[in-house]
């Protein structure tokens, strides 16, 4: 897109060097710790590049220290930062006006937004979508589902890293402007829509919630689940899902509470507390797993 930022003739960083940076950028979470987070991974990733750019010991020590401090961002998007930092370090090594603080500031300014973007786009949306599809495939006995999961995840993962290192280097400090032109907001919304569609489908397929409740009216036996099925198939999983939907502060509490209450009720029924005429029992079990005690 733009070659204006990089002076190609004197460039020490070629395609090969960038590919090495890409390979090393994947080890960003190495020696992850609470003091520096991904700081040690970052210095390890950029180490050979710094060695190449700074032959003098003094510059080298300064560069090592510059890049071993606190750092934390999304592991799938860190390639962008590696690319930008590589370009800035190169210009600094070539004697251009480039403050140490400037490089630190760019790292600091990018890691937060990229972490947020990656978490919401990849870990809250893309991975669950792929995992949901593959888990439902696996449950229906498709044995290559795990392989499909790994492939789909990592095409995007390594693709994003490779793209990030190369484009981050090429665009350098203009990266953020370019990012705005890519309509990230719109794509994030699109990802959310896809996520909601798939989770909706998952609730309908992967949750096995039926009631074996039947009651007798005169001579006729009414099977409650059949009635539910006529109104809305998979109604119970849907109701279940909405016991704890969006605005509830603690979904896990709700899930546990309602599970517990369901179970307690089923126990009551088994003990015959609510036993009327005929065989009435409400069990929150998949029908095929239910066995009368």
């Amino acid at each position: 897109m733009s070659e204006t930022n990089t002076t190609v003739s004197t460039s020490k960083i070629d395609k090969k060097e960038l590919n090495r940076l890409f390979l090393r950028s994947n080890a960003i979470q190495s020696a992850f710790n609470f003091e520096r987070m991904q700081g040690l991974g970052f210095i390890w990733g950029i180490l050979p590049l710094l060695n190449k750019l700074y032959p003098d010991k003094e510059d080298r020590v300064a560069a090592y220290k510059r890049h071993s401090g606190y750092f934390n961002t999304h592991p799938w998007l860190v390639g962008i930062i590696f690319g930008i930092v590589a370009s800035m370090e190169e210009r600094k090594a070539q004697g251009e006006e480039m403050d140490e603080e400037n490089i630190q500031a760019v790292k600091g300014a990018l890691m937060g937004p990229l972490a947020g973007l990656g978490d919401s786009l990849f870990f809250s949306t893309y991975r669950p979508i792929v995992a949901g599809i593959c888990a439902s495939l696996a449950l229906s006995g498709v044995s290559f589902a795990p392989i499909l999961f790994v492939v789909l995840i990592n095409v995007v993962h390594f693709g994003a890293q490779w793209w990030g290192v190369h484009n981050g280097y090429k665009l350098a400090d203009r990266f953020l402007e370019e990012l705005e032109g890519m309509q990230i907001q719109k794509w994030m919304e699109a990802a959310t829509i896809l996520g909601l569609l798939v989770v909706g489908a998952l609730v309908a397929t992967a949750m096995n919630l039926t009631t074996p409740l039947t009651y007798v009216v005169g001579d006729a036996q009414v099977v409650l689940q059949d009635m539910f099925n006529k109104i809305l198939p998979r109604m119970l999983p849907l109701v279940k899902e909405f016991r704890k939907s969006p605005k509830t502060p603690c979904p896990s509490c709700w899930a546990l509470l309602s599970s517990a209450s369901f179970w307690a009720f089923s126990e009551f029924f088994k003990q015959g507390y609510f036993m009327g005429e005929g065989d009435i029992g409400l069990y929150p079990l998949p029908r095929e797993l239910w066995r009368p005690l």
Binding site: N26, N51, K244
Partner: protein, 247 residues
């Protein structure tokens, strides 16, 4: 379980986690991958597949945000699958083991991340001495600590505890097991709920019902069919509409 099968299962668990440190974040430690893998190693892939897929749905919303330590799904799915396969206790046996393990085992990752803080000072020292090899050495020591934090607990739990765990799961009386089965059938709701919490944008919620309705009324569609429709729709949506949300 024999020494070597325990060793290999623990090794695979440790390596599946080590890739998060050294290979980016390939998600190899997710139950959907680790479950079938452990099942395969122990000679029962189909159980591993079922257990892994079920645990994946339960832990779907579990993720590390920022530097936080999430539920330890790797050790949980390794132990759950191993116990399920060796004791033949099915999905319920796996759940009984995996859910508590996920909570308890997260402390091992916590421990590794704390210990590695000391290495940062080693790196500082080597940086001052202009010793890149020393820096790399410190970083790899950190990775080794992280690997051991997954390998050792898995190994010890399986080698010394698998019989105890197995007899525990088989000793659980029938009606409690029935309750666990019931909760197990409901647990995916927890995963979906956690996920909806982070996905939900009020304006976009209708899409959830569209996805539900398609899959509920047309079972043949499955999740895959909805996903394909969804991708096609989303591409149209992006190329024609403007974003409605701004967060």
């Amino acid at each position: 379980m024999s020494f070597w099968s325990v060793f290999i299962v623990s090794l695979v668990t440790g390596l599946a986690y080590l890739q998060r440190r050294m290979l980016g974040d390939c998600q190899l430690e997710r139950p959907i991958v680790l479950g079938p893998l452990v099942g395969l190693l122990l000679g029962d892939m189909s159980t591993g597949l079922q257990v892994g897929a079920s645990l994946e749905l339960v832990f779907m919303g579990a993720q590390a945000i920022g530097g936080s330590v999430p539920s330890n799904v790797a050790i949980a799915s390794a132990l759950g699958t191993a116990v399920s396969v060796t004791s033949g206790s099915g999905l319920e046996g796996a759940l009984v083991v995996a859910i508590p393990t996920a909570v308890v085992a997260s402390s091992f990752e916590l421990f590794a991340k704390t210990v590695c803080s000391f290495l940062a000072h080693g790196v500082d020292k080597y940086a001052d001495a202009c010793n890149p090899r020393g820096i790399s050495f410190m970083v790899q020591v950190g990775n080794l600590i992280h690997f051991l934090a997954y390998f050792l607990p898995t190994f010890l739990a399986l080698y010394f505890g698998s019989e105890a765990i197995t007899s525990l799961t088989t000793a659980i009386p029938g009606n409690i097991m029935a309750g666990i089965t019931a909760v197990g059938a409901l647990l995916p709701a927890l995963g979906f709920g956690l996920l909806l919490n982070s996905l939900s944008v009020q304006k976009l919620m209708p899409y959830f019902f569209i996805g539900f309705a398609i899959a509920a009324y047309i079972p043949a569609f499955g999740v895959m069919g909805v996903a394909i429709l969804g991708v096609a729709y989303v591409i149209l949506h992006v190329s024609t509409n403007k974003a409605t949300t701004n967060n």
